[in-house]
Subunit: 201 residues, 2 copies
DNA sequence: CAATTTTTTCGACTGTTAGTCGATTTTTTA
DNA sequence: TAAAAAATCGACTAACAGTCGAAAAAATTG
């Protein structure tokens, strides 16, 4: 019981690294078990297919991201800061930059699409809560909150997906965020300083 | 010269249908050549890989969509109508509904992602042209046009990807389109009647 | 027309892959 | 200590994308 769970976690970690560095499609089960030093049968004792393993790897990744988002919600930041914080937390941090690069490579379309899909599902409710809070405080003014939050996430995804987003991309994003949520112009202006690292340099 | 091109087109059509009905991943080269009644070698005489074939299939699909978009630009519609026309033309028509359904199935993530990517690249310049026109006419007022158009496309993609988009989705989309382009409220309101077919019923 | 060159077609073959399965070992439970 | 359950093993299968040299068909040329 204990030992089994440990093994599974080890396998997930190994797969996580290999999927990112070489792509899901380009990583074979044989390579994973070679790296782990186990037999084929053992692998399939823990995962019913390679694709199921991918789902679990992604689940593992998103769990930690959701955790960060929830911490931000519970913090004492201002509402706009919370929103920006959550959105930027979805972007891999400095030390995880290889992950970001890996996900943008064409051999990772599948992972990329799956992550995006699940991420939106997880983050929309959390972010909606914050927007709700902002409406109560009078900072925002809008209806159809979840729909708007989803659009917001779509835009930020699109922004971050581009390896080289420009000043004007950020400008448009800030503008749209304010208008999307019905905030006063300038409310979100402070974003630009935070995000620009990593864009076109 | 002639015969070869014909064969290639036939193969592309066969693949197009099979990719859509069964998914790219679930369609084997063996099945394609069986359907076409040719040998392996012949297939690889025309396509250097299965993936290259996918690219060509997608190219074929998008060519016709781009053609429609350009026709709309050259028509005598009003600017807002042109924009709506182009965006809705990206959505498969009634008789092509199977295509849309096929693309939404999980076994088609790769195709879906690739189509989206290329579609945006093709449509952004066309749509930007129309927006530019609208600015000259005083209907819109904004800068960073290509960036805004890209965001607009991201949103409409997201809208149409959902099998069951709701009234509120459309409401938000219209609102955002107007604000994105700096149009007067109501300018795009007429969209809702056009799009709602196919949404939640 | 006949010779030759180019284009097109063929299908057996290879190497890699995900996944299966019954046997065997290790661990837990009673 | 014996029986049951959990974990491991690796040889095997079936499906797959892609290769290759040879042969047929079509086009070119003298």
């Amino acid at each position: 019981m204990k030992k089994g769970e440990k093994r599974k976690q080890d396998l997930l970690k190994i797969a996580y690294n290999m999927f990112l560095t070489r792509g899901y499609e380009n990583t074979s089960v044989d390579e994973i078990i070679a790296e782990a030093g186990i037999a084929k049968g053992t692998y399939y004792y823990y995962f019913k297919s390679k694709e199921e393993m991918l789902e679990e790897v992604i689940g593992m990744m998103l769990e930690s991201e959701a955790e960060v988002a929830r911490q931000i919600v519970g913090s004492d930041m201002s509402i706009p800061q919370k929103i920006v914080g959550i959105i930027t937390s979805l972007r891999p941090a400095e030390e995880e930059r290889p992950i970001e690069n890996a996900l943008m490579q064409p051999e990772n379309v599948i992972m990329h699409a799956k992550i995006k899909q699940k991420l939106v599902k997880i983050v929309v409710p959390i972010l909606s809560e914050v927007v709700e809070e902002g409406i109560k405080e009078g900072i925002f003014q809008c209806e159809d909150i979840p729909e708007r939050v989803r659009m917001l996430l779509m835009m930020s995804n699109e922004l971050f997906d581009e390896a080289d987003f420009s000043e004007s991309d950020i400008r448009v994003f800030i503008d749209m965020t304010e208008k999307l949520l019905g905030a006063k112009p300038g409310t979100m202006g402070f974003i630009s300083a935070l995000i620009s690292r990593g864009g076109t340099e």
